[in-house]
């Protein structure tokens, strides 16, 4: 069964003695505030997105983007290779090219040569290209100076203020972004919640409903706040607790035989 903010709010209303939706709007608003806070403090939702690259090697960040945890290029259909960070990149649309289009020239040295034959070397913008190592119609076989701390898989820089990400010579056009997003940014309004968050949302809804009400006594407010903080801590420990598989893997690794000398 899928748990949503709606089900948690109705559960709270029923538990607090309502069998009418008359207070639903207030409770939903309060529950949403709790849900949003939990998203930032406890459960920040990890998601994986496939980014669509534009002609200028830029892409839009996912809705509700908070921060990235991994950005990589998908190669061979099943392998992710990490991209590097290049803080010198400009946000998309800040440079006007000769044609009058807003774009950024990110192709630096991949000039000439055979793309099909040299896909690897075309990946990193800072590499010498094969053309630089071609003498008298013959490839010299060495790319002196290649490497030098550059990333053959390409680079990126995130511009959260624009909601965009700019790439430089990514290894492939399929970019995978693992990131934390604000679950509350779901525009459909039917927020799916983790089972660990049901009780904290109920406690948070109650706390949020009374915390700005000047007619509720201080002791009741203190009690509700304590309940909310306790539920939040509990959820956090639930999220952080290792599961049985983790322990199993640990034991198995610890018992692996050491190589004989």
């Amino acid at each position: 069964m899928t748990h949503t903010l709606d089900t948690a709010v109705r559960e709270y209303l029923l538990q607090s003695g309502d069998d009418s939706p008359a207070r639903y709007q207030s409770a939903y608003t309060a529950g949403f505030a709790a849900f949003r806070e939990l998203g930032f403090d406890v459960s920040g939702v990890p998601q994986v997105h496939i980014l669509e690259l534009s002609d200028t090697d830029s892409a839009l960040l996912p809705d509700g983007y908070i921060r990235w945890t991994r950005v990589g290029a998908l190669i061979g259909g099943n392998k992710i290779v990490d991209l590097g960070i290049n803080n010198n990149l400009l946000p998309p649309g800040t440079v006007v090219n000769n044609c009058g289009n807003n774009t950024i020239a990110t192709q630096t040295s991949a000039v000439g040569g055979n793309n099909a034959f040299w896909p690897y070397f075309y990946g990193g913008g800072s590499y010498d290209s094969p053309a630089d190592n071609w003498r008298n119609g013959e490839f010299m076989g060495r790319l002196f100076g290649a490497g030098g701390g550059t990333n053959a898989n390409g680079y990126f820089k995130v511009f959260p203020e624009n909601g965009t990400i700019q790439f430089e010579n990514p290894r492939s056009r399929e970019i995978i972004m693992e990131c934390l997003v604000d679950a509350a940014a779901d525009a459909s309004g039917n927020f799916v919640i983790h089972p660990f968050l049901i009780e904290p949302i109920k406690a948070g809804a109650h706390w949020n409903m009374i915390k700005f009400n000047k007619y509720v006594s201080g002791s009741e407010k203190a009690s509700a706040e304590g309940l909310w903080l306790k539920a939040k801590r509990h959820a956090k420990s639930q999220f952080l607790a290792p599961n049985i598989d983790t322990f199993y893997q640990f034991i198995r690794a610890a018992n692996s035989p050491s190589p004989k000398m």
């Binding site: 009418s20 639903y24 709007q25 459909s188 309004g189």
Partner: protein, 212 residues
């Protein structure tokens, strides 16, 4: 029990236990007071029980079916409230439940008269995808699309006695009945204690010889 029988009982008590055709207070006079007393008593009972529960006794809830209509000026769909209901309660709980007739499990949310503006642009404005409504006098406007015109809505109102004929059987608990009668009697006893004008004006005029 019906509204008429309650009013009749009140009339008997006020008039000394005997039905008198020329008594100053007649059953018809009391019918209005009975409806008003019902709402007052139910509201008082609700507020008394608030610490225990916010639920309202099912025997006090009246269900109506109405069709959605179109307000072209405002580009909104609305339904006409079929009766008055228990008002002046927090969160307009007098309108106990509203939903499409065939989808009672998917209740609508009362967002209040400024709800559309207050919720505009907020992340949770969709309220989980539920239909929204707000009450303006005897109409309830909705957030539904115009194409919903003609659909039937199921409305549950608390103490909606105003819209009931006086001979409709009511399912009111006996203790509430007693409180309603006491409430009506309190109003009329006060009236009876006041000085009464018992002089027949026609007779007085005849004795003085003045023109009628």
């Amino acid at each position: 029990m019906t509204k008429y029988r309650l009013a009749e009982q009140c009339a008997l008590i006020i008039n000394g236990g005997m039905p008198q055709p020329d008594a100053p207070v007649q059953v018809q006079d009391l019918l209005l007071a009975v409806s008003q007393a019902m709402a007052t008593v139910i509201k008082a009972t609700y507020l008394q029980n608030l610490q225990e529960t916010r639920a309202i006794d099912g025997s006090l809830i009246y269900t109506y079916k109405v069709a959605l209509e179109k307000d072209c000026d405002r580009n909104k769909v609305f339904f006409t409230m079929p009766s008055t209901y228990l008002g002046s309660l927090p969160h307009e709980i007098g309108v106990y439940n509203v939903a499409f007739l065939k989808h009672e499990d998917n209740f609508w949310v009362n967002i209040g008269n400024s709800g559309l503006g207050m919720l505009a642009g907020l992340q949770f404005s969709a309220m989980g995808g539920r239909a929204q409504f707000w009450i303006e006098s005897n109409r309830a406007y909705t957030s539904l699309p115009i194409s919903s015109e003609g659909e039937t809505v199921l409305i549950k109102l608390v103490a909606a006695y105003d819209g009931l004929p006086m001979d409709t059987p009511l399912n009111i608990p006996a203790d509430i009945e007693a409180m309603i009668i006491q409430q009506v009697l309190a109003i009329y006893r006060e009236q009876q204690d006041r000085p009464q004008d018992t002089t027949d004006d026609n007779q007085k005029l005849a004795n003085t010889g003045a023109a009628k």
